[in-house]
Amino acid sequence: MQTTRVTIAKYIWGMTASLIILLTGGWLILAPFALGYQPWGADWANQTINDFWVGIPVAVVALLSFTLFLVSLIGALRASGVLVVTQRLQPVIAAAPAQAMMQTAAPVAPATYSDQSDLDRTLATLAAALAADLNSRRQAQASSDQQTDQTISNRRDV
């Protein structure tokens, strides 16, 4: 049997590096004020301007890099089957309306809609109940039509 090996160390490594760089960028922004070489209320010194305008892109791009590694990690986990992609299940009625209308409420089990919200479940149950009611009415009408036809044929025979 072929097994799928999930390796996430490289993504964790990249995410850790990006996180450290993000913190470093944040420190570069704050350092002139935290270390006191930028006096409060005075015009920004050249070093303050440099640190600030280097720190901002470093922090922003580090966040972007962190996101890229995170997306890669999630993609790898999904590809290996560890993370399951949640697909929104379409109701049976929307997929095959004619077939669903002829079915009773039994096929629309709650397990089919386990991933949906309460409102969706309620609507699905209601739709199934309406379909079952319509089906029973059609069957009743069909049986009454058969009885009528039988009665007419009996009268003709008589």
């Binding site: 590096a17 760089i21 070489y37 640190d51 280097v54 890099s65």
Partner: protein, 99 residues
């Protein structure tokens, strides 16, 4: 696996971003001297020390990030190649046993 595929796996987009941090780190280290905010002939002022430390951290972490990712990916590529080779050998053995 082609060379291009291997290179794409070894250097993903995140690694290029980390290389940008390497360049940013170099600039942060040399900026006090390039912008002459560090007077010559005296001990380093606090802003210079801060920039050299923060820039060095950027350089080290970005390089470690790129090289570490590359090492892990290379290990994965070698492991996949080894498993593929084992699988081929198993198939050949099964084919031989069939005949």
């Amino acid at each position: 696996m082609t060379l291009g595929t291997a290179m794409r796996r070894l250097f993903p987009l995140g690694s290029y971003v980390l290389l940008l941090f390497f360049l940013a780190g170099i600039w942060v280290v040399i900026s006090p001297f390039a912008m002459t905010t560090q007077p010559s002939g005296i001990h380093w002022i606090p802003s210079t020390i801060n920039n050299v430390v923060a820039g060095s951290l950027l350089i080290v972490v970005s390089l470690a990030g790129v090289l570490g990712y590359m090492a892990f990916e290379l290990r994965d590529i070698l492991r996949e190649a080894h498993e593929k080779q084992l699988q081929q050998e198993l198939q050949e053995q099964q084919a031989t046993a069939t005949y």
